[in-house]
Symmetry: C2
């Protein structure tokens, strides 16, 4: 039975997938709040731990959750439903549709990155094939900003705001120390794309002492030890410190991650340090200058206390629009953000064919990399600056942000894992 | 000429020393604002880069700075006057008093940790010896919380608030992932004392899924690889993830830093990684469980966007009280915070003889370490919880915190360094 354009009665299933962002729960809140507005939607189920909970029928009833929790999702990091990295296989299909049918799921929303969008495409195609009335919409999510078509991905603006804020703060500390020249290295996420490291350029406040970071290295350009050392020396001709922001995934001309510098542990395994430690080693060894490292690690994708309000609101709207489009009869698409203007900044939310997204990667444009290869061009500012605007007010209790969790998850988790959490 | 109890007319010199905290400038603002209230004080000089600027007479005129900048100091990280780690030598004394006399400095305030308090003591003693009328007061500052006598040190509450906030956020991310067991390791500062790592215990919210960190390792207890692995396994019997917070300075039973695990680079130097990498290596090698690391590095002492309001206000008051006590005739003392009660929390500000502070270290009390050696006792809560209360409203511009810098520093810096900054 085809369903396009007709009213389809049934239940919603929503799930989260991939690495969390600080706004992935805001998209979830958007789905839940909008779903409550439509009489054709009866139950609102959340599948726990992505594909794992979808296949196992490990659902919680989201309509049973309190308003306090649903509101709190708007500022809570992590994936409130749980997430997973496992990929959908064609062999999962029969089991999956058995679960959907048994729960009368007619609306499916999957909040995630590329892998999740591939899954939505496959599930929608199978529903058509077997004539099961289902409307499946992908909701974009990734801190990496590497999803195609959409102007940017929910989650990216917040990580940039946190990384740029932290880079400015570290720069101020660096600049305070008057004893010796100093190289300060901050390693951020980004295995294949440099969007996050590039965003740290917003920390620069030219014409003030806060003009760092001075050097930014991203995976889109191959990294050379000797060019790096020459660039550091050049910065230190005029500055007492040099702040370097580096993507974890930078590679040398041979295509190897720069941390694989040949240093081995006693068991012959490659050294434990990452990109930042390699750069620190180069500076201390070859320039005899003190270097120190900060590796933001998981904090950068979970720092909800420093989220972008704009990112948060857009993530919520992506969830809302997904439900609206589905109720109107759309399926097999991903919500994408369309930028209508920079100044004033304005966006609309469109539907993108999943063939244009699934399996594609949006790398950082060459045109926005400075000629030197170690700095980002100012043309990038107009793109990225609007994404970090506004601060999310996070309620605190006892001096620590007060984050929420679903009341219904405990029992399902015990079934899933035979462990508390 | 003795000066105690008499009104002493002359100028103020204030300086900052040691590693910055996010509230060291709040103490500076307290000194400046209070100094403006006393007619016996004429000029208010700031020495740049601590001892270096004191000896070189590299001063800026703080009364010339705008109200916008003085107010902005209350939320700006780093050391706005610049700092240094160099230690005061007796051979510096004649030159120093030559500078003080030439600028008619009669009030000297040094904001810093142990080394700075030693310097204040030596300078005060020399002033007495040569009959130079000077009132010298130390203002406490350290994220490490290892200054003696004072209940706690300005700077400590804010780093705990940031570390506990970040630990809770990372825990929520850890708990989101449902694919496999996970060990997440967060390395924080603390070479000799575990106060910062211990403070992360405030992230725990027992009875909810947010009961991490599960293990905390501090330098006060020697670290054993095998006990660590056993503790991780025990945590993972009931949890799918194990969050470990570790001081950078943990040592094994032989007294060696645990990062010196014998792993050498090709030049024979000890491995590049720190404590967190060593723990990651142990988990992945021996338990075959995925482990990931975050090293907060300099961000933890510069994250003014996540400062404790109480810490900020106390730091300001320490600056204010230093000036008041000096005007009343006191000298050769350090301001200390005296806790008058926990509930309601209340403090007063007293003077401490520098002999009781200089050269002393306050380590984390044995009584607050859990029997297991890998967790902090709940008795510590009553001490630490009040220190992180309240949030500082930091104005943002363009989505990034708006921090200030003195207008007068540029020229002095060029003289000092022959470099811009």
């Amino acid at each position: 039975m085809g369903s396009e354009g007709q009213e389809l009665e049934g239940n919603v299933l929503v799930a989260q997938s991939g690495g969390p962002t600080v706004v992935i729960n805001s998209s979830l809140a958007g789905v839940i709040q909008e779903a409550l507005n439509h009489p054709c939607i009866e139950e609102i189920y959340g599948a726990m731990y992505g594909l794992r909970g979808i296949l196992g029928g490990n659902f919680i009833d989201l309509a049973q959750e309190s308003q306090h929790v649903i509101r709190g999702l708007r500022h809570t990091p992590g994936a409130a439903l749980g997430s997973c990295r496992c990929r959908f296989q064609e062999s999962d299909m029969d089991g999956l549709f058995h679960v959907l049918e048994s729960k009368n799921v007619r609306y499916f929303f999957y909040i995630g990155g590329n892998g999740s969008q591939c899954a939505v495409r496959a599930i929608e195609a199978h529903a058509k094939k077997i004539g099961y009335g289902l409307r499946a919409i992908g909701v974009p999510k990734t801190i990496d900003n590497d999803l195609a078509v959409t102007d940017h991905s929910p989650g990216y603006g917040s990580v940039v705001k946190y990384v740029a804020t932290t880079a400015r703060e570290i720069a101020i500390d660096d600049q305070s120390m008057g004893d010796f020249d100093l190289v300060s290295i901050v390693e951020v996420m980004g295995r294949d794309a440099g969007w996050i490291a590039a965003g740290s350029v917003l920390a620069r406040h030219m014409g003030t002492p806060f003009d760092a970071p001075h050097l930014i290295y991203i995976p889109e350009r191959s990294f050379s030890d000797s060019e790096f050392l020459a660039s550091v020396q050049k910065v230190l001709e005029n500055n007492r410190y040099c702040l370097v922001v580096v993507s974890e995934g930078i590679r040398n001309a041979a295509g190897d991650y720069v941390r694989t510098s040949g240093i081995k542990d006693p068991l012959g395994r490659t050294e434990l340090g990452g990109a930042a430690e390699h750069l620190q080693y180069l500076v201390e060894q070859h320039l005899k200058i003190k270097a120190r490292t900060t590796k933001l690690g998981i904090s950068q994708r979970s720092a909800a206390h420093c989220a972008s309000l704009r990112d948060n609101e857009e993530a919520f709207q992506c969830g809302v629009k997904a439900v609206r489009y589905a109720v109107e009869g759309e399926s097999g698409k991903m919500i994408s953000i369309v930028r209508e203007g920079d100044s004033p900044y304005a966006v609309t939310y469109a539907l993108t064919d999943l063939d244009e997204v699934a399996g594609k990667v949006k790398t950082f444009p060459e045109a926005w990399i400075d000629e030197s290869g170690s700095m980002i061009s100012s043309n990038f500012f107009r793109y990225v600056a609007p994404l970090i605007q506004g601060e999310v007010a996070v309620p605190c209790k006892g001096g620590i942000p007060e984050y929420v969790h679903f009341a219904g998850t405990k029992k399902v988790e015990e079934n899933l894992f035979q462990k508390k959490r």
